[in-house]
């Protein structure tokens, strides 16, 4: 079994308006030392499914079912105390906005040391020493001085580094980074991603990076999971997905990425429409109202039947959820010429 094995994860929220189906039948695998990039729009279920791994939905109005095996243990079956002990030690999470993720009244050092002291029986002094060590490791200058600073005295990039230090202080096997660079500017973003990759090499951790930025995915991920309306719509090795995508939503995502050095003839094509309501998702394929290629599928299949995850043309681990019979042709002839004509010329 893989280090992390998610099988048929379902997360529903019972609300006054009905049941919000945030995640439906999600499955993926992840080994130590590898990175999984989860991509999708806001509301696609990326964060919800990852929070479920940490058990952060316990005690809320969420209904979670399925199996999440971390190092052989099903996290959904163990009791609250057991999962609490794993949080911060075997698995950790880095959140999007480091300023609001830290308590404003306590020093950065205090909060990082807290993560260490919760899981290790050490003295305050030892925890402080370890905290300074970690701050140094994540690249914070003068860590022995900055350990006593408050979060508002750090810059955005440094705060995120501190959060990474907090997450990795107990050498967790699984690190979930929920949009870690969204709140940062681009240069800092690159530094943070580099840092994560360094730390992954050092600690051999499995990293799940949740993002809506395909650039981040291209940089870091070994495997990519594309989510839409709470479901996996494409999953496979990163290179495969980026070069031979086989699902119209993925095409749409790739079309929406502006390229600074790209061909000026390349078009930026947004995906029309809005993400569907998770209270009452459309029947059939959840993407069908926004899909430009619906008519290529005979009958009314897209509107009536939910496609299953089927292997892509190249096979292997690459799967996609789409009714199109020849997605690779459609992609090569219709989509690619619009968004990256220079790539066609290269291939020709």
């Amino acid at each position: 079994m893989s280090f992390l094995s998610v099988r048929d994860l379902v997360v529903h929220f019972k609300t006054v308006d009905g049941v919000v189906k945030a995640t439906e039948g999600l499955s993926y695998e992840l080994e130590r030392g590898k990175t999984l990039g989860i991509v999708g729009e806001s509301g696609s279920g990326k964060s919800v499914s990852s929070s479920a791994i940490l058990g952060l939905h316990r005690g809320t109005n969420a209904q979670v079912s399925g199996e999440i095996f971390l190092d052989g243990v099903d996290l959904l079956k163990i009791n609250d105390e057991s999962i609490r002990r794993k949080r911060g030690r075997e698995m950790a999470m880095i959140f999007q906005d480091p300023l609001s993720a830290m308590h404003p009244y306590y020093t950065v050092g205090n909060q990082i040391a807290e993560a260490y002291r919760i899981h290790n029986d050490v003295t305050k002094k030892q925890a402080r020493a370890r905290t300074i060590e970690m701050l140094d490791r994540v690249g914070i200058p003068q860590p022995d001085r900055r350990v006593d600073d408050y979060p508002h005295q750090f810059s955005g990039g440094m705060r995120q580094r501190a959060m990474i230090a907090m997450a990795l202080i107990n050498d967790p096997g699984l690190v979930i980074a929920d949009e870690p660079t969204t709140a940062l500017d681009v240069t800092v973003q690159a530094q943070i991603l580099d840092l994560l990759q360094d730390l992954q090499r050092e600690f051999n951790s499995a990293i799940i990076i949740i993002t809506h930025d395909l650039g981040v995915v291209a940089e870091m991920a070994d495997d990519v999971l594309v989510m839409y309306a709470g479901r996996a719509v494409e999953y496979g090795p990163c290179k495969e997905i980026l070069v031979h995508p086989e699902m119209p939503y993925t095409w749409g995502l790739l079309s929406s990425v502006p390229d600074v050095v790209g061909d000026t003839d390349a078009k930026l094509i947004p995906i029309r429409g809005n993400p569907p309501s998770l209270l009452s998702p459309p029947p059939g394929c959840p993407f069908n109202p926004r899909c430009d290629h619906r008519d290529k599928v005979p009958g009314d299949l897209c509107r009536t039947t939910l496609p299953e995850l089927t292997p892509a043309r190249a096979g292997g681990n690459h799967v996609k959820r789409c009714h199109l019979a020849n997605p690779d042709e459609v992609y090569a002839t219709e989509v690619l010429p619009e968004i990256a004509p220079d790539m066609i010329e290269e291939q020709a």
Binding site: R84, R85, G88, A92, D97, A101, H103, P104, Y105, Y150
Partner: protein, 338 residues
């Protein structure tokens, strides 16, 4: 921080000076003749004129204020008018610095009037404060943590009821039933610690303290509940959870600490206001505190006492504001200056 405090104190003093001036002006702006009150019911015109002269009310307002201000530092002699003093030296009374005035109505220096009454109001305020803080914060936190449950709704509902009851009603009810009719408590009569020991002092403060506390507690239950709920929706709680912190740790170290700040501000200001006396409660239980003094002195147009009270209560509020602001900086590092 130090410079900040000094600056605030300086501004505070200026405010007190302004307040005293306004009080003088307002006092004499009323259509009622203060000398008439000081003189008494059967007062002839000559006596009234004499009283007016003796109290200095015949002088212009600004001069009266000036005498008052000087008197605060140097002390004063009464009667005001120098010629009267020379005429009857045995009737001259001296008011040592700081002299806040001499009350003809109560035949005492204002500072002496305060001396006996301050401990009463202070004790009442303190006892009520401890009760309402302990009760209000604890119950408010419980309501927030059990949000939506019957406990929560019950607490909120009961708070509303007690908040709506006027203090005289609650006070009279407690006095009539708990003390007199059912004899659960002794009829409250303020006893100094020196006279009867701490327990007697406390027991006599229990009912009036409770009267005040119930009202304030109602407000604090609601406010604490709101602050704790707001604190619970903060992102850093999720981080604490993700770190594997135990629920109790998250509650006290993270949630409550954040909810504390606005509470400290509120509590400080409420207490300061109460130190100046609780008018209605003191009247109901017949406690000679500053509140009762305020009502009496206004009804009898006792200018010196009124001015003295305005300054004293003003000083309490000003100092409380400064203290609360400084305290806030200790709790919330983002607010610190420098």
């Amino acid at each position: 921080m130090f410079a900040y405090t000094i600056r605030r104190l300086f501004v505070g003093v200026i405010m007190l000076v302004a307040m005293s001036m306004v009080t003088f002006v307002l006092f004499f702006a009323s259509p009622v003749d203060p000398a008439q009150f000081a003189c008494g019911k059967n007062c002839s015109i000559e006596q009234r004129a004499q009283v007016r002269k003796g109290l200095g009310y015949d002088k212009p307002v600004y001069e009266q204020w000036k005498n008052f201000a000087v008197g605060v530092f140097k002390g004063r002699d009464y009667p005001e008018d120098k010629s009267l003093r020379k005429a009857a030296p045995q009737l001259v009374s001296h008011c040592g610095a700081p002299c806040l005035g001499y009350s003809r109505v109560n035949i005492a220096n204002v500072t002496d009037e305060f001396k006996d009454r301050i401990p009463v109001s202070f004790s009442l305020a303190m006892v009520a404060f401890v009760m309402w803080i302990a009760g209000g914060v604890a119950l408010g936190a419980i309501a927030a943590l059990t949000k939506g449950s019957i406990i929560d709704r019950g607490l909120v509902g009961i708070s509303l009821v007690f908040y709506a009851f006027p203090t005289f009603f609650v006070g009279l009810f407690l006095l009539k039933f708990l003390a007199i009719k059912w004899g659960l408590f002794p009829v409250p009569n303020y006893t100094k610690i020196g006279d009867g020991g701490v327990w007697t002092w406390f027991i006599n403060l229990l009912l009036p303290g409770l009267t005040l506390a119930l009202f304030y507690m109602a407000g604090y239950v609601r406010m604490t509940r709101a602050f704790v709920l707001e604190s619970m929706s903060e992102d850093y709680l999720r981080t604490a959870q993700a770190k594997g912190a135990a629920p109790k740790r998250i509650l006290f170290k993270h949630t409550m600490r954040a909810a504390l700040t606005p509470l400290v501000t509120m509590a400080g200001l409420d207490l300061a206001g109460l130190l100046g006396g609780a008018v209605i409660t003191e009247s109901v239980f017949n406690y000679n505190g500053l509140g009762k003094l305020a009502v009496d002195s206004i009804q009898t147009f006792d200018l010196p006492t009124i001015v003295g009270l305005v300054l004293l209560l003003g000083a309490f509020v000003i100092i409380a504001n400064i203290v609360v602001d400084v305290l806030y900086a200790f709790i919330d590092p983002r607010v610190r200056v420098g």
